[in-house]
């Protein structure tokens, strides 16, 4: 097997590892492609669609598409920019995102994407769906109002025997996350904390932790846009 393949992202030639996903190759080379459902090292879900890029003329999600020799990838275009903004806007109107009263505010990835893409107001009407908060679990609070259905908890939170603790329920517009009544009840502290940490928004909160601990101004996305850490890699390389 070849050691690397050469791909082009926005006219920049980069070397990628065979089999790695476009988004990871880009990341290592200081190119930020926005993601939400994606987590490095976890099997991708390809569900939020925000990482959609143009691969050899076709729209593909960069978190699910492995690199191939000679691939030409376009991530900067009016069309792609509009897709990204649309995904954020759809998520903002789909649930009930009351940022001012959310513990995750300032550290929330959905919010951060909204900031980065300058979403001042979604173009779609707010839906204000009736959604429930599930406080039945001893370690976690699940707030469906804030859930973006990214499947991170489903994919990453399994017990030692491989049982799924989180799962989807229903489909389409009714889709939601559930916590298993049995394995969820017996979840370790460590796993519950991991679930809350992996949640990109404030839909899963660990009960043992106070909210609003970090003052405004010092939170993750207060000063620097999401993706800055990736883009810094490039600046370092150039300088």
């Amino acid at each position: 097997m070849k050691e690397f393949v050469t791909i082009t992202i926005d006219d920049q030639e980069i070397k990628a590892r065979p089999g790695e996903y476009i988004v990871d190759a880009a990341r290592r080379n200081g190119i930020y492609i926005p993601t939400l459902c994606n987590m490095s090292g976890v099997k991708p879900a390809g569900s939020c669609r925000i990482c959609t890029v143009n691969v050899n003329g076709r729209l593909m999600t960069s978190c699910t598409t492995p690199v191939a020799e000679g691939m030409e990838i376009e991530t900067i275009s009016q069309e792609i920019a509009d897709f990204r903004k649309t995904v954020v806007e759809l998520l903002l109107i789909e649930g009930n995102h009351f940022c001012p009263s959310c513990e995750k505010s300032g550290n929330c990835e959905l919010q951060a994407l909204g900031y980065r893409f300058e979403v001042m107001v979604p173009r779609f009407p707010y839906q204000f769906p009736k959604r429930d908060i599930d406080a039945s679990n001893p370690k976690l609070i699940k707030d469906h109002n804030r859930c973006v259905l990214c499947k991170r908890c489903i994919r990453t939170i399994l017990d030692e025997e491989g049982h799924h603790i989180f799962a989807f329920r229903y489909r389409g517009h009714q889709l939601q996350i559930t916590i298993d009544p049995e394995y969820g009840m017996n979840m370790t502290d460590e796993l519950a904390q991991k679930a809350a940490k992996n949640c990109p928004v404030g839909a899963l909160l660990y009960r043992g932790k106070h909210g609003f601990e970090i003052p405004i101004g010092k939170r993750k996305y207060d000063k620097e846009p999401i993706g800055s850490d990736i883009e810094k890699l490039k600046k370092v390389k150039i300088s």
């Binding site: 991708p44 879900a45 390809g46 569900s47 939020c48 669609r49 925000i50 959609t52 729209l59 999600t61 699910t64 598409t65 492995p66 897709f83 649309t86 995904v87 759809l90 998520l91 109107i93 789909e94 173009r123 779609f124 009407p125 259905l149 025997e161 049982h163 799924h164 603790i165 989180f166 799962a167 989807f168 329920r169 229903y170 489909r171 389409g172 517009h173 009714q174 889709l175 559930t178 916590i179 298993d180 009544p181 049995e182 394995y183 969820g184």
Partner: protein, 600 residues
């Protein structure tokens, strides 16, 4: 249903969680619903979590969570059903049964529910009652049926209108369904003795030669996507895997399509032989017929056909005397999810999971069912493949057009005198087809179902073929009395909202938002910007993962393109802003709550 029984059912499938669909279907069939108590039992027995089982159960329309009546009626709510008088039929059901749709009568006797197209568009309104099909319903028939239910009669006794034609009347089917075959072509021609290709032709063809012959014929997949069949088989043959699978996709769920139902009824031997032929070509040892739950009434019959083929050595070991050619087929039912017609969602479903399409690559031919290389072909494709082997690729290439070889079986329904199945060579115009079906005063035709395109008379000279109007076969005719936006586009959008798996953000939301826009326009609150918004928003559907998602806004896109005037005449001229806010309506609830008269 007691715990022991659930355990037995789970044990019947070796406690294998990939057979979860079968377990649930058995429980549903036996108990009439999936009792809450069954879920922990299944989870324990299959060593999964309850949440895991629940996520499959809650995905499928036909898995009921509550008792749904001793007689459970699923009345089709597709556009054609509505055109053929569903409304009156539904009202009669409600009046006679004494409950509304979505409810069960107090005594638990009758449950009334809506369901998407059940593949009977040529004989609507139609309903499934405890899995049995009742077609051509009228208020009179409904009264009769409900009377019989109240007497506690069996399902057979509810069928007062006798049995339909062809094999529908056979002892193993006994369904009211009619075939309505209006035009037979080379695929449906009864000029072939099942088994001939396996017995005679395979003597002279190696697997590679079979693939070569299929490639030469230039046949493309008949499900709609049109991928070259020979190439698909070749990819799978080349793929490395301990074993390989052949799937037949009989999950025809595109509203207005019913040709697979007729093939399954009249030509199952041909279809199974096609699967076996494909297995020979790619080196597969197992085959699965994935079939929609709506066609459950064919189950015993299809199982019987398989059994007969085994006895005739057309399935099993050393098939047709070919040493080492072992292949068998099992039937996998779905449980009500349109998206499972998408091949990778179908595989997920067959593995006992939610029908969420996978992302590609890898393609099923590389990593399919349970991770093994898998070919998934449409019913019609497989039937045709057998005929191609029998009569030769040269013969097949002589049919149809240069780039669309062979024939296509169309399912024609709606406003025409002769709805039914038409096997046509590719290359006829829409006008030809309308003429043939006895259509009159035609305002529009939906070609390829809701995910296809809605065209008007100025495009009726377009040609049915891959390069012009490609279609999986659904052909719905609307005459001048139909309200395209209200009756057609709205119904289709509701269908897509109901059938989205919900995985992708745009597909989960945009159809819903488009429907709101359409409602606003129909209510007279529309402004020019609404039309622009609809166009722009529909464009976002391109980033969805699967074919369903990418085409789910097509009813809007297509009607905006071809019937724009209908939108324009409904919007407010000269008004630039109207979000539909109505003060009078907005204060009613609160005024009632505090007991005051609204003052505006």
């Amino acid at each position: 249903m007691d715990i022991k029984r659930v355990e037995n059912i789970v044990a019947n499938y070796n406690r294998d969680k990939t057979r979860l669909m079968d377990m649930l279907i058995d429980i549903q069939t036996e108990a009439g619903y999936i009792p809450a108590g069954a879920i922990p039992v299944i989870a324990k027995q299959t060593d999964t979590s309850q949440a895991y089982v629940e996520q499959t159960v809650s995905f499928y329309h036909f898995f009921r969570r509550e008792p749904s009546g001793k007689y459970t009626v699923f009345l089709n709510s597709s556009v054609v059903a509505n055109m053929m008088g569903r409304d009156k039929v539904a009202r009669t059901f409600e009046e006679e049964a004494g409950c509304k749709f979505g409810e069960v009568t107090e005594d638990g006797l009758i449950g009334l529910f809506d369901t998407a197209c059940i593949g009977m568009s040529d004989q609507e309104p139609a309903a499934l009652i405890n899995g049995k099909v009742f077609t051509r319903l009228t208020p009179f028939r409904v009264r009769e049926i409900i009377r019989n239910m109240k007497k506690g009669n069996s399902l057979d006794e509810l069928s007062t209108s006798g049995y339909g034609g062809g094999k529908n009347a056979s002892e193993l089917i006994r369904a009211e369904v009619r075939n309505n075959v209006q035009r037979q072509g080379p695929v449906m021609e009864n000029d072939y003795t099942p088994g001939t290709v396996l017995r005679e032709k395979l003597k002279h063809f190696s697997p590679d030669e079979v693939i070569w012959e299929i490639k030469l014929s230039e046949i493309r997949g008949r499900g709609g996507a049109g991928f070259p069949t020979g190439l698909k088989w070749e990819f799978c043959r080349r793929a490395r895997g301990e074993k390989k699978y052949i799937f037949c996709n009989a999950d025809e769920g595109e509203p207005g399509t019913f040709k697979d139902r007729v093939l399954l009824t009249e030509y199952p031997e041909l279809m199974f032989e096609g699967m076996t032929l494909a297995a020979y070509a790619v080196g597969a040892s197992e085959g699965i017929l994935y079939i929609r739950y709506e066609y459950k009434y064919l189950e015993n019959y299809l199982k019987h056909v398989l059994e007969k083929m085994r006895q005739q050595n057309l399935l099993g070991k050393n098939i047709a005397g070919k040493e080492g050619f072992d292949f068998d087929i099992r039937i996998q039912y779905g449980a009500g999810a349109y998206v499972c017609g998408e091949e990778s969602a179908l595989l997920e479903s067959a593995e006992g999971k939610r029908g969420e399409p996978r992302f590609k690559p890898p393609f099923p031919v590389e990593k399919g069912y349970l991770g093994y290389p898998t070919v998934i072909n449409n019913v019609e494709t497989l039937c045709t493949a057998v005929k191609i082997m029998q009569f030769g690729s040269e013969w097949y290439r002589s049919l149809g057009t240069q780039e669309s070889r062979g024939t296509k079986i169309l399912s024609i329904s709606g406003d025409c005198r002769y709805p039914g199945i038409y096997e046509m060579e590719w290359g006829y115009s829409v006008n030809d087809i309308l003429d043939m079906a006895g259509a009159y005063d035609v305002q529009a035709v939906q070609v390829g179902g809701p995910s296809g395109s809605l065209i008007g008379p100025d495009e009726f000279d377009r040609i049915i073929c891959y390069s012009d109007l490609a279609t999986g076969g659904s052909f719905i005719i609307f005459n001048n009395t139909r309200d395209i936006l209200k009756d057609v586009v709205m119904n289709f959008m509701e269908f897509f909202i109901e059938e989205s798996c919900g995985s992708c953000v745009p597909c989960r939301n945009i159809p819903w938002l488009l429907k709101q826009k359409l409602e606003k326009i129909l209510q007279g609150h529309g402004v020019w910007k609404d039309i622009e918004d609809m166009e722009e928003w529909a464009g976002m559907m391109r980033i969805n993962r699967c074919g369903l998602g990418q085409t789910a806004a097509n009813p809007v896109v297509s009607s905006l393109k071809n019937f724009r005037a209908l939108y324009e005449e409904k919007i407010q001229k000269g008004k630039r802003f109207d979000e539909g806010f109505n003060l009078e309506k907005a204060v009613i609830e609160s005024c009632e709550a505090v007991g005051r008269t609204p003052l505006i």
